[in-house]
Every structure is written in C-alpha cells, then in structure tokens.
C-alpha cells in the first residue's frame, strides 16, 4: 500500500477538480457578497460542495479524503473562501447529525447553493468561555417561542438569512439543562445586527439583538432543554472543521513566510533560518496530524489540533512581521481605515504585491491574536484535552 500518494480514484478526483477550478475560479473582491454567492452556487453545481454530505440532502456522499483534496486544490487555485462557511462547516454538519428529517430537507440544500447564508449565535457578553451561562431567553407562546436577548462575536451576521441559536428555555433547571437549539430567520421582526469593530479595524463579527422575536417551535432542533449537548456537538464540529481547513491555511502562511524571508535583501542568519525550519517542522507535523487523527477529530481530539494551530499561526505571523525589520510596525496602504475595502483574502504571497493592510503581516499579526480566543480559548481547550482526552479529573 502507498501511504503517501493518492489512490487511483483519489487521483482522478483531484485531476478532474484541478481542471475544473482552472476553468472556473473567479477573482472576487472580499466584500462582494453577491459575486461570492454566485461562485458558491457554481461550485455546487459543479459537484464540489457538500462532498461528505448525504446525497439525499443535496450532498455528494463522498469521504473525508475528497474533502481534503478539495481543500488542497482550492488553496492551490487560490479560490475565494466560502461566503457561507458557518453553514457549510458548522451548522450544516451539525444539522445532519441532530436535525429532523424535515429540517434537513428544508435547510441543507439552500446552504450548499448559498441561497441561504447562515451564522451561529452562541456567545453572549457574559457567556464566553462559560457558554452555559447564556441568558438569551425563549419563552413558549403557543406554537412559537418568543426570543429576547443578545449574542456577540457572530461572524457573517450582517449577511445571514438564518442563525443557529442557543437559547435558555428553562431558567429554573440547572444551567446546562435549560438550553434549547433553534433555527431563527434573521429577517424576522425584532432581529437587529450591529457590526463589532475589532482592533484590526475590520468588523468581521457582529452583535445580534433579539427583541421579542417570534420563532415557530418547528424550528427547534432536538428536544426542548436538550440544547447543551447539541451545542457541544456543534463545537467539536467547529473545531474539527477548523482543523481540516487549517492544513491549507497553515501551509499558505508558511509559504508566505518563505517568500518573505527569501525576498529580503539581508541573508538569514542561522537562528532565523532555524526558526523558519522549526516553523516548517511544526506546520508539517500539525497538518499531517490532522489527517492522521481525522476520524477522531469529531471528538475532543479536535482541541489538540485547534490549540496547536492557533499558537502556530500566531508564531508564523510574528515571524513574518519580524522579517520586515524596522518597518515591522508600518501599515502598508495606511492601515486601519481602509482595511475593509481594498482587501481580498489574506492568503496572497508577496509576488501578488503587498498593496493593502489586509494582506499584510501587520494585519495577520493583529488578527492572529484572536486565534487563541475564538472557537474556544486555548486555556479552556487545554482543560478539555486534559479532562476529555487524557482523563484527568474535573473539579
């Protein structure tokens, strides 16, 4: 057996995909949502989305390997990232696992075609690491719930049609037992969204406010007060999917770093060369570990990869910044104010020209500081590893 090369079937898949992408991959500006939706639909119609999703819901019914190949090839072709990433990577897979047949039939395919964009409403101002402290209320009213409260750190909230929401349905029960998962139409009366500006200058996240929003009970996922376990499944899926896509992202960042150090006038001294080599060791080990542990990534092992990835990416960005020497703190193109507009995807290499803040090491450095917070702080995840993977006792 070969452990390193594609099987013949995988190779066919890869070559077909590569050819298709060469023919179809578009250039789209970062905030052109309509173009991004059109591109996602085209991808779907080409047969390249929902690769691991069951075919009865519009998926391709293929395996994990095909997804990895898709990630690799789309990175190589520098295609834009998905406009509906939360749907494709988090809400969709979780819905497949825990949704009703009716919900799957209703929601999955429009997710794939980008006809409906999704976001995820879990964190609240007072429920970050401690998700079970969430306070957004859903009160039963006949066939509906009336939802009131606030979510924060909601990616894509400004462009979403649906939100995958955790709410409190029982305020008397122990805090893990009164939580329910809902699908909420973002266009419902009483939903409002406010952009949340980050230290990079971008507003990648939003705050979502619910003011007596009426949600049909048929939009409940799972049983009432059964939302905690669904939330946990969502998290492991989120981390697993971060893990799966990170291989590509890490390798792109490492390639940028290589180009950056090779492009300098000053030759590397041995320490700098070793630091780059160490980054190579770590990024190779980590991306291959994702593949090795693939089957376990939907369990708590995903935390292993998430923790290592976050710190690795921070290190890569710091190293990239350092290669600029005295210019390190200087914002290309002027910085914070125009970060939103001129940006494309932050994965460009130097050969694309460093024109704008959003593709710069400065942006990468600042943005990466959130890596050890978003999707579970590294502190929380290390405890998850200790308790859930290694079996250390909980408090």
């Amino acid at each position: 057996m070969s452990r390193l090369q594609d099987t013949p079937a995988e190779l066919v898949f890869r070559e077909r995909l590569r050819e298709w992408l060469a023919d179809h991959a578009p250039a789209i500006a970062k905030h052109d949502v309509q173009a991004l939706k059109t591109w996602q639909k085209e991808l779907y119609e080409g047969g390249w989305l929902g690769l691991t999703w069951p075919s009865e819901y519009g998926g391709q019914g293929l395996g994990f390997r095909e997804q990895v190949i898709f990630n690799e090839e789309s990175a190589r072709a520098k295609v834009p990232p998905s406009v509906n990433s939360i749907g494709l990577m988090i809400a969709g897979p979780t819905l497949i696992a825990v949704g009703s047949e009716k919900q799957k039939k209703r929601y999955l395919k429009p997710m794939l075609t980008a006809e409906e964009i999704w976001c995820q409403g879990f964190s609240e101002p007072n429920a970050g690491s401690d998700l079970a402290a969430l306070q957004t209320r859903a009160v039963s009213d006949g066939d509906d719930y009336i939802v009131t409260g606030q979510k924060i750190w909601t990616s894509n909230s400004l462009i979403s049609d649906y939100i995958w929401l955790l709410v409190r349905t029982d305020t008397e029960a122990p805090r893990h037992q009164g939580i329910t998962a809902l699908i909420v139409d973002m266009h419902s009366p009483g939903v409002s969204v406010k952009p949340l500006r980050q230290m990079t200058g971008e507003a990648e996240f939003g705050e979502v406010f619910f003011d007596e929003v009426r949600v049909p009970k048929s939009n409940r996922v799972g049983a009432e007060n059964d939302g905690w376990i669904i939330g946990m499944k969502t998290f492991t899926r989120e981390r697993a999917n971060i893990s799966v896509s990170l291989s590509v992202r890490l390798q792109q960042q490492f390639d940028r770093l290589l180009e950056s150090v090779r492009g300098r006038n000053i030759p590397l001294d041995p320490q700098q060369a070793r630091e780059v080599a160490q980054a190579y060791v770590d990024s190779e080990c980590l991306t291959m570990t994702c593949e090795r542990l693939a089957e376990r990534l939907f369990g708590f092992e995903s935390s292993v990869v998430k923790v290592a990835w976050a710190e690795m990416n921070q290190r890569l960005q710091e190293m990239g910044l350092s290669t600029l020497g005295p210019d390190a703190p200087l914002l290309p193109g002027g910085g914070f104010d125009d970060a939103d507009d001129s940006a494309t995807w932050g994965t460009e290499t130097l050969s694309d020209g460093v024109e704008s803040f959003a593709k710069s090491w400065q942006f990468g450095y600042l943005r990466s500081r959130a890596n050890t917070i978003e999707g579970g702080t590294s502190e929380i995840l290390r405890s998850v590893i200790a308790e859930r993977v290694l079996g250390l006792p909980r408090k």
Binding site: S123, N126, G128, S129, D130, A133, I152, W153, L196, R197, Q198, M199, G201, N265, Q271, L321, S322, G325, P326, D327, A328, P329, L330, L331, P332, G333, G334, G335, F336, D337, Q362, Y365, L366, R369, A370, T372, I373, E374, T377, S378, E379, R382
Partner: protein, 361 residues
C-alpha cells in the same frame, strides 16, 4: 547598587501620575485613534506638559532646562508610558534635546535648547536611513544627493527637524533641515506617528557634529527612555488585566481565581520587574559609568521588549474576546508594544550587540 528613588524622584513620579490621570484620561487618549482629531488632542496635552517643564528635563540649566539626570527621566517616562502619551515629549525633549546637547555646536545649543526646554519649539531628529537598519555604522555619507531619513518621529508637527548625517569615516554632522518632504509611514501605533523625511541638502544647515560614538550615546539614552515608557505601559496593562479578571465571572467564579490566568499574570509581573530594574540600572550607568552605556542600554531595551510585548499579548488573551475589540483600550497598548519593540533595535539586534560586547561574536 542602590535603586531607591530620592524624595524628589518620588514627587516627580507622583505628580506625573496625578497630572496625567487628570489631563490625559482614556477619553483623551482615544482621540488619538481618530486621524482628524489626534493632532488636536496631542497639542492640547503638549501645552500642559510644557508648563510642567518636562521638555527641558534633560536640558542643562544654562540652556533653560532643569538639568536633571537620565535616572530622573526614567522615573518620569514610566509614568508617561503608563498613559501612552503622544510622541512629542520623547521626540523633542529626549531625542532632539540629546542630539543637540551631544552633537550641537554652541550656537545651536543657544538657539534651540531654550525653546525646546520651554516647549515652544517642538523638535525631532532623523537618524536611520533606508537600509541602515538600527545600526549607526550603516549610515552612508551622501555627498551630493538628497538625504532621506526613515522612522522620524512626529516630523509632521515639528518646528525643527534635525538630521544626523554621516560625513566620512566615523564623523557625523548635525544638520537643521529646511524645506523637508515629509511622508507618513502609518505606524501601527497611531498615538505616535512616524515619518520618512527627505531633505534637499541645499536647504540644510550644519549646526554641529561629532563621532558615530556620540550618536550612539544619543541613541542609547533615547532607547533607555523608551524602555522606561515600555515598562510603565506594561505595568499599566497588568493593572488593567488584574482589574478585569478580578471582576469578570465565568463558571460562577472570578476568572482571576483560575490558575492559568493567575500564572500568566505572575509571569507578566516577573518580566516587568526585571525590565524595570534594567531601566534603572541603565539610567544609572548613563549618569555614572558612560563606558558601560552600550551594554546597559541593550540590556534595558531587550528586557523591555520582552516584558511589554508579553504583557500586551497576554493581557489581551486574559481579557478574552473583549480585548480584541476596538472599543476596549488594550489594543492601543499592544500596538504601542509592537511599535516600540521595533524602535531603536529589536531584541535580536540588542542581543547581537551584547554578544559582541561579551566577545562571543
């Protein structure tokens, strides 16, 4: 060794802290985030700072200053760092004042220093050049063409821009620049804009000179002053973080009771205490044992780089998501940390210098 503060130094520290707390509270500081409003905010503070005599702290009494020592300055700079004040004090009262004191001819001293000390003249100095890195020996004589200096602090707002140019061998000249072309380099730290300045040699006036070694003395003292600001800023981040994790509750308890949080806060403190010592030592060396200045300055800057970057990054981590927002103030400290880290030499540069001084080259 004796690093205790004199009574005067304690008074200087306490009054500076009181003054900045009142006159430069966070809402004022945050005006620096708005490019339109920033110069006004900085100017308003500058007037009050000038009244206190801080711009002349290092200027000799004969030239209208307070004639104090670097140790006094370091005590003050810890406080200005805590409050992330704009760059004019360091650019004018430290860098430019030291350049004139060290390199200026008598005429230049008499002409510039009283106004610099009074604060009525805001000066700055351009030293590094494209390609020089942080190494004074890498400055290149530019016999004919226009001289371009990079990383010139506060140049857009300066009434006097000085250049230190290498002339030949180990000699440098101090030149007062006329008709400069000033380009904003867009520092990550918007509280301290830095610029590239190009000067037509015909409109420059030679106002002094000296050796590369004299220039290095200026740079070392400026680096020590900056290091002290970094220590002060790091200490402020630690305070903000302690305050936040005390009050922030998760899992039914104060976040500050978690060991992971406690231990990171402890490491922030350890780094700060070490760097503070290094700044005091370096200042004492500058005042008493100038032959050891280079080593002491490099120790101080290397220690301050580690302490401040670690404190800013870790403080942000301990704040969780909220620390990452524009609304919270921490990002201003993080940006100051990174901007300062790459001013007057990053840690690699200073460690290489120390290694050289230890004859490990």
């Amino acid at each position: 060794m004796d690093f205790s503060l004199t009574e005067e130094q304690m008074m200087l520290r306490d009054s500076a802290r009181g003054f900045l707390g009142t006159e430069w509270p966070v809402p004022e500081l945050r005006r620096m985030l708005d490019p339109g409003d920033a110069p006004k905010a900085a100017n308003s503070l500058w007037g009050k700072i000038a009244d206190l005599g801080w711009p002349g702290l290092l200027v000799a009494e004969d030239n209208g200053g307070l004639g104090l020592e670097l140790f006094d300055l370091v005590v003050l700079m810890e406080e200005t760092g805590r409050h992330l004040i704009p760059g004019t004090l360091h650019a004018s009262g430290v860098l430019a004042a030291l350049a004139v004191e060290t390199l200026g001819n008598d005429g230049a001293k008499q002409r510039y220093l009283p106004d610099v000390a009074e604060g009525s003249l805001k000066a700055t100095a351009g030293i590094y050049e494209p390609g020089s890195g942080w190494t004074a020996m890498m400055l290149r004589p530019q016999p004919d063409g226009a001289v371009t200096k990079r990383y010139v602090p506060e140049a857009a707002d300066a009434g006097l821009i000085l250049f230190v140019n290498r002339t030949s061998g180990n000699d440098v000249e101090l030149a007062a620049v006329g008709d400069p072309e000033v380009t904003n380099l867009h520092s990550m730290d918007t509280t301290r804009p830095i610029y590239q300045v190009t000067c037509d040699p015909d409109s420059a006036e030679r106002v002094g000179g000296g050796t590369i070694g004299d220039l290095q003395t200026v740079l070392d003292k400026a680096a020590i002053a900056l290091s002290a600001e970094m220590v002060g800023a790091a200490a402020r981040v630690l305070e903000m973080t302690v305050e936040y994790v005390k009050n922030r509750k998760q899992f039914g308890r104060s976040v500050g009771t978690f060991q992971a949080v406690q231990h990171k806060a402890a490491d922030m403190l350890i780094g700060i205490e070490k760097a503070r010592t290094a700044c005091y030592y370096a200042a004492a060396v500058a005042d008493e044992q100038p032959e050891k200045l280079g080593e002491a300055a490099s120790i101080a800057k290397a220690a301050a780089n580690s302490a401040f970057v670690f404190a800013a990054e870790t403080g942000l981590q301990l704040h969780g998501g909220i620390g990452f927002t524009w609304e919270q103030d921490l990002h201003m400290y993080l940006k100051r940390a990174k901007a300062s880290e790459f001013a007057y030499g990053d840690s690699k540069w200073h460690l290489d210098r120390i290694a050289h001084l230890l004859a490990l080259g």
